[in-house]
Symmetry: C2
Subunit: 334 residues, 2 copies
Amino acid sequence: MKHAPKSSDEFEYLKWIRSELPPASPDLEVGPGDDCGILRVEKDRLALKIDSILENTHFVLAKPGVRQPSTMGPAATPEEIGRKAVTRCLSDMAAMGATPSTCMVSVTLHKGAPVKLRQDLFLGVSKTCATYGVNLAGGDTQSWDGPLSLTCSMIGLMNGVRPALRAGMAPGDVIAITGSLGGSILGKHLRFEPRIAEGRFLADNGVSAMIDISDGLSGDLTRLCEESGVRFPVGVDIAAEAVPVSKSARRLAKLEKAGAERAMHHALHDGEDYELMFAVRPGRWKKIVTEWPFEAPIRALGVVRSLEKGQPLVRILKKGEPEALQVMSWVHQL
Amino acid sequence: MKHAPKSSDEFEYLKWIRSELPPASPDLEVGPGDDCGILRVEKDRLALKIDSILENTHFVLAKPGVRQPSTMGPAATPEEIGRKAVTRCLSDMAAMGATPSTCMVSVTLHKGAPVKLRQDLFLGVSKTCATYGVNLAGGDTQSWDGPLSLTCSMIGLMNGVRPALRAGMAPGDVIAITGSLGGSILGKHLRFEPRIAEGRFLADNGVSAMIDISDGLSGDLTRLCEESGVRFPVGVDIAAEAVPVSKSARRLAKLEKAGAERAMHHALHDGEDYELMFAVRPGRWKKIVTEWPFEAPIRALGVVRSLEKGQPLVRILKKGEPEALQVMSWVHQL
């Protein structure tokens, strides 16, 4: 055991875990810490993911006659919960450029939960698998004196495409993003479209690094910098006017009786938009923009710079003036 | 939706799930309901498994100064819990004849759980992976207002060996088993050795069907009959004197102030021994017995017969007289 994590957040824990990993075979090309692990099998690579969603953390189960405060968005139907367990993994597959193949789902229910609840959870899983052409290879259902949780594990095929990792950004790269951000609590976190084809296209076009925005722009951008900066320290400058503030972010700010600044806050720090953020050489960026065949918009946010001592990892330019962008997005407290 | 499950046990639920599965690609050769799913990737097959262990169902977390009643066996250390999450999947891999390759583990902790608890859980996982040569490709750690649970998902390689399924028994097959049974609550359920090499050897020697005994002999034998009986109904007769009653089963009976009959009850119905039970053509059985290179004992329990109308699936012969063997082993109530 090398050192104990100093704080209780998941990043410190991940650092410690990486120092304590079991020996891996050369077939495991990417281990814990990226959107997916990568395992070589014969001539192809598999992308591997496990992810859990928990009641009252990732969803609130809808109950008849109970309405949530409007700023907390809608409670989730069991089918939406089943869907979310699968689509979160699909989004991680997208962030590697993998084609999802097969999943397994473990469900833990409250003891005495109605039969209809577990049926509808399963149908949410099953229909989502059908929609995205994913096999369901197995599962596990149990009950206990505890809240509802679902764990999905997924396998994707790289089909010869080089996986897009979190590490790989270099100074001069363009930072870009699909879709728009903020206010996903109002419904998008349950109904988002994982950017599978987009991720595949981007990986195929040789992006330097990619991540799906699950914790929030400020945190996930910081993570890209940290992962990419292991060999050569890098930071990112983004332009405030380039941040794609979503309609939901504006609507949420309005519900909070606040204005444009609050909407921008939601776009910068809210999680669960499941959009793809990536870095790419400028020449390739031009090609991507020109050939982009998808409905989802795509836009440049800023550039990667080499990080000088004492500089913040992520800066936001407001009217050309850089200021440090604080990480105010989701950090799991353990 | 075809029909709602009539009862609340997991077998009814599994039947319903199988009727509601999403369309699968031809690559998915075995779907939900066996020890593992089987996915074809290029020229090889992968065995896939997901499994959750829950606090107070699969283990009791050891607390300083708290001792359990002796018939409940020892509480588990965090390292033992981490180990069990992985070894249960390893046992399912063994039951297919697969060689375990890579796993992922999702951990859900009580909020505010001590750092040492999650470290020791992880070290239990990590050391077990190292012991069995399994890669750890990823994971997920979260906390909530609920009990402790771990979900392990695992990938194994068939390396050209034909997977041993639960379906495949034919009349005349010998039913046989590794190791001994009963009383695993006294400690074996935390410290069992998954029969990986044994499973591989058995699959390689063309067993007709195989399962790992997780729920108990009576239940798992019934399941083998049900799964194998889809095309042609089969039953099994086992000889009472052939049932390998373990020392733990005898010790548990003694702690309960009972005798040999109670020890036999434990051997027939207790779960979590993680021994392999299989059916095999008599000629192949002879070869297996002759060439068996492992320390773990192996023995014949009985034979597979064609099932006539009204006959019980599983019968136990006591001094040559057959009687129905009731399923009194573990059934998950949902």
